[in-house]
Amino acid sequence: MAKTAEDLSRLLGEIAQGDRQSFAAFYSATSSKLFGVCLSLLKRRDLAEEIVQEVYVKIWARASDFDSGRASPITWIATIARNRCLDELRKKSAVSLDELQETQEFAAEEINPLAGLEHGQDLAALMRCLNTLEEEKKQMILLAYYRGLSREALSQKFAKPVATIKTWLHRSLAQLRTCLTP
């Protein structure tokens, strides 16, 4: 990501005015991130490509919705993309369960420490909080976030009833919330 949040915000402002060159610059600065987010969730390039395309069409149409007071541009679009991919994944839950066998353990090394230097401190704080969880719970949270595993898929993965997974999730999330609350 060669461009700063300010650069991307400016580009979004220009895109809202219909500036295609700015749109191209915005795409080139952000598309690898969006494709990475979607591919790690969906695992299928064709689906990831379809969703990323849809998200950029949406960005073109709704760049004026962006509010820099609420999120950075990259957070805004990555969140939009991730949510669309989760929707897609849940629609194809049968597929994701079939593919569960192939789901690798999520290695913390996959988290790119250089990702968004602007957010480095926030990432460090989040990881510090994550590390207060037991190893199994930590793995569960990361598999859910980065691999898109549903409660049912986590239940298979950890060989625990869905109700247990739900309890684990809620306790872990409560612990994260307490840790993340200043």
Binding site: F35, E50, V52, L86, R90, I141, Y145
Partner: protein, 260 residues
């Protein structure tokens, strides 16, 4: 977020799991519907999105196929078109409903001419999209939905949303939830779909006073009727209309817009 207990409240847990990604399809659809009308839930979702943002930013960067940008440009390259219209060019996306505040179409106009009795409610629908994007407070941070998911706010006027309807036009699954409406004692609220292609208003069933009600009856109509239809609520005798026809004019109505 000012006060936390050691346990998550049901809505806190729902918001957290929504952001984490562990909810199933129906639960996700319900959260997306509720966040439109419930600022407290929206705030909880925002809190988790902001706090988990470092993770989404730390996802690996993988270059997309080289021809993807050309496809995107082709999808948005509409001479003199308003930007929002580009939604209609996305493969698989609905045609004719955009993010603009102009949901009315020819069917709707014809319907209004034909059905004077329903006129007041039908006119209300014209203000629907505006209220969705202003009054109800759709968040910019939350353009989250599949293009096949639509929502409608059924209301008397732009300031009084009474029901929120969520429809997947592909599967024709509908759920409706009251925001502020409660049927008067001894009465039931009944949901109807109105479209000139299907003649008289068709019942989608009685709506519960709380929680989500689904309407399997919608599956008998084609996706274009489902998407273009006017959704209206009438006040009926307890248990619903005795003869399958609305007993009076709609008290709340609205049209679908693409879920933000």
């Amino acid at each position: 977020m000012t006060q936390f207990s050691t346990d998550l409240s049901p809505d806190e847990a729902l918001a957290a799991e929504f952001v984490l990604g562990t909810l199933n399809e129906l639960e996700r659809a319900q959260v997306k519907l509720r966040r439109l009308a419930e600022p407290v839930l929206e705030e909880l979702i925002m809190w988790w999105e902001q706090n988990f943002a470092p993770w989404v930013l730390a996802a690996p960067e993988i270059a997309p196929p080289a021809d993807l940008f050309a496809k995107i440009e082709a999808a948005i390259h509409l001479p003199n078109a308003v930007a929002a219209a580009s939604f209609a060019k996305v493969p698989g996306s609905p045609v004719g409903v955009t993010a603009s505040n102009e949901p009315a179409n020819d069917n709707f106009a014809a319907l209004r001419r034909q059905m004077a009795r329903w006129r007041a409610a039908a006119l209300t629908a014209g203000a629907l999209a505006a209220s969705m994007f202003v009054g109800v407070g759709v968040q910019q941070y939350a353009s989250l939905s599949s293009p096949k998911n639509f929502v409608a706010v059924l209301q008397k006027d732009a300031n009084s949303p009474a029901f929120v309807v969520s429809v997947n036009v592909e599967s024709r699954a509908l759920s409706i939830r009251p925001v502020s409406a409660t049927a008067p004692q001894g009465k039931s609220y009944e949901l109807w779909i109105i479209n000139d292609k299907i003649g008289a208003p068709k019942s989608l069933g009685v709506v519960q006073n709380a929680g989500f009600t689904t309407a399997p009856q919608l599956k008998q109509y084609s996706s274009d009727i489902v998407q273009a239809g006017l959704y209206a609520i009438t006040e009926e005798p307890a248990g619903g209309s005795p003869d399958g026809k609305p007993s009076g004019a709609p008290v709340f109505a609205g049209k679908l817009v693409e879920a933000p």
